[in-house]
Symmetry: D2
Subunit: 156 residues, 4 copies
């Protein structure tokens, strides 16, 4: 069936990058998404939405996104259910991002990145890139589906 979610918001913290037993990269972060409520005037509401990213995109995200930065996420809503330590069934909603677009350049809390308490999941041996990557972080995940000479030989 159809399941699509598009969000724009700011990271509440640096992304966390981990690896599954199979060595698959998976990053997670929370997006603060504001919404307007016109009735109770001025009242600002925020949804804190958990995002999960896999594979190559996970590594890009953990390299280029930090706390406070704005991002657009295109993905699908997923409800995961698991048993917690008390044996209770817990439902977790998260958006599995299929595309992520970085929307501002370093206006976020730059220092927050190095403040991360987590083990050095990020590849600090290579110096931090000084600018956005040339290959856009939002590699159209469908692009591979396009035939080599798209415009040239459209049969109509």
């Amino acid at each position: 069936m159809l399941n699509r979610v598009i969000l724009i918001g700011r990271l509440t913290a640096d992304p966390e990058l981990r690896y599954t037993n199979n060595g698959t990269a998976v990053a997670s972060f929370t997006l603060a998404v504001d919404r307007m409520r016109s009735n109770s005037n001025g009242e600002r509401q925020t949804d804190f939405i958990n995002i999960v990213v896999w594979n190559k995109l996970a590594e890009l995200v953990s390299q280029y996104l930090q706390k406070g930065r704005m991002a657009a996420v295109d993905g699908r809503l997923q409800i995961r259910t698991y048993e917690n330590r008390d044996g209770q069934r817990v439902r977790v909603a998260e958006v599995v991002a299929e595309g992520v677009r970085f929307l501002d350049r370093g206006e976020g809390n730059q220092s927050a990145k190095s403040a991360s308490a987590a083990p050095p999941v990020k590849n600090n041996t290579s110096p931090a890139p000084s600018k956005q990557p040339d290959f856009g972080p939002y590699d159209d995940p469908f692009a591979d589906d396009l035939p080599p000479g798209f415009e040239e030989d459209l049969p109509f």
Copy 2:
């Protein structure tokens, strides 16, 4: 910020219609949204996603949708937090539907509707409608924004 969700799925049960203290109608139901997992071949995964609908649309939904029927939902993802009876903070994710489109006619479990254990929230005094309403259930919520004579006097 931007927050948009589009889903197609089937109702796991009849919608529940309630009213707030202010007399505002609010309906809720769960949508079973299948997804394909190409790796573990044939494995079918389903996300059960809670939907909330307000006002006039809530009443339409509770009138025309039943368990098993297919629907498209256009809305936004909302994370609600509350304390449960054990004093624990619980996060609930739900999609607030701004538009709902009914996608099949009565192929769902028709009798399930009357099996609802809830108090008679539905208006059973008026006989059930035998066909779809003429006014589409998916009233474009933005349509009011359009000026009266749209095409006629476009200034370009």
Copy 3:
């Protein structure tokens, strides 16, 4: 950048399946998408939107969709510009479908399919399938990105 379009509508005609010089399958059809206009009451407006589909999905679409059938399309909006026979530059808007979901079963004009004047692009040697394919037509194009044992070894 972000570019996403989600539509539900009905096919105005059978899809046309062609092949590029490279042998890539490409199907095209038009979706009639109704919209409500609440002001000029009752007035029904329809947008006729051209859809393009590539590769395996193109063949699925041309096999299972016909004139009159309802479908959901998930894709991106593309503006193509070309010179017509009069040397005029023409802009064409079309939605490149990345996912297509078939929303009703054969209630459309079944016979219209065989009325297609095009060369036999459809595989008529194999008998027409009597039911929906078991593999859903809306193969999540991202599913391959998911790691083999998703739930089992999530590192959080």
Copy 4:
């Protein structure tokens, strides 16, 4: 039916604000939306997509957006058909924006605004605002649908 489009791109020029005979404000602009093509490596493709905005939002857009600025648009795809001066039937695709979010602050070509050749459609008598409006430009168009005391009296 369902018709939703979400775009992120940059304005190719200042928005043009006009008024219908009825005095309804309508703004239009073009969004340059890049896309990646992974096959023909490095090749950058751009779709130039026309956006139309009505009413209050039209005036906000013409006040706060200029050439080069980045914006997110949430709306629907509309196909308008008209006869041109040569009597030819022309199809125009445009996205009717229901929500617009301004995504960067003044990094675009600021001076371009005053370079507009159009008659003074913008209210130049009041000095240009030095910062974003406090009321977000992306007023959720559905917000009015929410009941006054949403969270307080949810009946479940």
